[in-house]
Amino acid sequence: MRRLTGSIAGAAVLALALSACGSGDSATTGGGGGASALKGTGTGDTCKITTPVPIGAVFSLTGAAASYGESQKKGLELAAEELKAKGGVTYDVKIEDDATDPQQGIAVFERFVTKDKKSLIIGPTLSNTAKQTDPVAQEGKTPVLAVSNTAAGITEIGDYIFRDSLTEGAVIPQTVAAAKTKFGLSKVVVMYSNDDAFTESGYQAFKAALDKSGVTITKTITFAKSDTDFRAQLTEAKGAAPEALVVSALIEAAVPLVTQARELGITVPIIGGNGFNSPKLMTGAGKSADGVVVGAAWNSASSGPENEAFLTAYRAKYSADPDQFAAQAYTGLKLVDAAVRAGCSGEREDIKKNLAGLKDVPTALGKFTMTATRDADTPAVVQVVEGGKFAVLK
């Protein structure tokens, strides 16, 4: 009994000490500490800030979404290198792993917001995670720039949440319209993984776009995002004799799904959501990938000097082709730089204000404008796989 009382007392002391720490932290955040060092002189290209602007990035470097995180990390590091070479304003970019686990994402966000006092957070990789981490930043008044979240309801979390990734809601209607014109679709089967926020919202967007353009959905089939054997579902889909298969899935599921569909003799076009938009589709599914239609925010065939410069630099550094995730992460830091230079300040409030004001910025994604709802406005491109390569669907 005595021991029990002792440990309760101990726990109480510990709790007191912890809460004291917590209030101390928030006091320095509120006061702004040495943050004035983040204000510089000049504007735009002449802006000079002596202290490096602290940026935190949270990507899924391990776990189910690790293949996206890896691309994002490469894109971001390339942008940081280029900005460092440019000079005037430098960035202290710290990339952390959320292990595709929202809990770990929250922990990293909390550290970036309260302890490390980052001026801005880039990430996280998955919309699923973002829905849980972004409220942390919103509450701590730290701007977040999402560079891959495409689900609905991300920027609605609050006025500190921005994104440069075109939403599925913006890309999918353009994809459906282009595919309908090209293939003359009247009935399709829809498949999606219903245990992920990203693919679920992709499904909603597909459904709305299909309904609007008068295409009948004869069957809707679900699966789990970790599934790899889709033969049962695909046999079901085949039975409905669709003119196209519409699929909202992450790339890990997309590759076996496409392979097995072709194996079972499903030869119709497969219209994919954003998850299909990766060169890994062709390396993994090989010939089976032909006839896959994907709408995207970015394509290596997109023109524009910024995109060409990005492609050249990326290939030189990594001797591999970038994907959309690399392009968006790369653009993300460039946009942050544009916002910082616009007000020549690396402080949270100024970055927030100037991100919202970005208009017609030339980027690798095309002309970029931040909409009133803090979402990206860039042109989309509808692609089809032909002979193992993405080509623009005409």
């Binding site: 890896e70 790899t228 049962a232 590759v255 079972l264 993994g284």
Partner: protein, 291 residues
């Protein structure tokens, strides 16, 4: 018809995984949760052998069998043997095997990166057989044949051979077995090696079958594997085979007749209904101890 075949092939994969699993679980009464890590690791190493070293799949499979066996020896030596003297050896071994499995996966990620990997498209003959309006690939037939042959072979081995008798003796009572002059450590190690060798081959066949190998591929099949063992009856090899087929068919027919969102509810609901009706599983024998 196609769905029936789909179910049989899916079930054979579960069975293949469960047979290796149940060998250690049922015979030695140890739950080796590193089995799923062996499954993933072997698939990745197999892919590496085929893509980098350019070996044919027929050479790769025996190599993977040996490789899996070696992993099994490591698991037994590191995760189970040091604990064998403890009174909570079974439970402690379960935990330490989870830990060792996590280490294997971390090493795998360090070595190969996080990307999903696959065998080159021509690694296995892409032969297809059209049969009553359904498509069957040669690979799927091989998987069913391998699973069935393993089930028969291992059942015979456990019931007839010297090693099998040794295994059963160790399972019944290690101390008595030792008194009778059986090398308990050797038998235990061999059982682990055999179990993991099978797990390794299952991993390669699985990766070939679905054209995808992920680090987490073992984890998703592990739960199914446990369900299969319970449905079939603990430690029963024919039970693992049949249990695999039942779970596979249940999943496929859930998709066909009930709806794809209900798949896991049906498959695991089946597990519970079998547990209620026949707690020892379909082929499980009720343990009766005579004093």
């Amino acid at each position: 018809m196609q769905q029936l075949l789909n179910g049989i092939f899916l079930g054979s994969i579960y069975a293949l995984f469960a047979i290796g699993f149940t060998l250690v679980f049922g015979v030695l009464d140890r739950l080796n949760l590193a089995h799923s890590a062996v499954f993933s690791t072997s698939a990745f190493v197999g892919i590496e052998l085929v893509t980098r070293a350019g070996l044919s799949i027929w050479v790769t499979l025996p190599i993977i069998f040996v490789f899996g066996g070696v992993l099994g020896l490591v698991i037994e030596r590191v995760a189970f043997r040091p604990l064998k003297g403890r009174h909570d050896a079974h439970f402690a071994g379960l935990i330490s095997s989870i830990a060792l499995g996590a280490m294997f996966l971390a090493l795998l990620q360090a070595g190969f990166g996080p990307d999903t990997r696959r065998f080159p498209p021509d690694a296995f003959p892409q032969q297809r057989i059209e049969f009553a309006g359904s498509t069957v690939s040669l690979l799927q037939l091989v998987i069913v044949a391998v699973a069935f042959a393993l089930m028969v072979g291992l059942t015979l081995m456990v019931s007839r051979s010297r090693l099998g008798r040794g295994m059963r003796a160790v399972a019944e009572n290690p101390h008595a077995a030792r008194v009778l002059g059986i090398d308990v450590d050797r038998i235990t190690a061999l059982t682990f090696a055999l179990s993991s060798a099978l797990g390794g081959v299952a991993g390669v066949l699985f990766a070939l079958n679905v054209n995808s190998a992920q680090i987490s591929m073992g984890t998703s099949i592990e739960l199914k594997g446990l369900a299969v063992i319970i449905v079939g009856g603990l430690g029963s090899l024919p039970g693992a085979m049949l249990g695999g087929l039942i779970v596979g068919l249940a999943e496929v027919f859930a998709v066909t007749y009930v709806g794809s969102s209900w798949r896991d509810v049906i498959a695991f609901g089946l597990l519970f209904s079998i547990l209620l009706l026949r707690p020892q599983g379909i082929f499980g024998a009720r343990k009766v101890r005579e004093i």
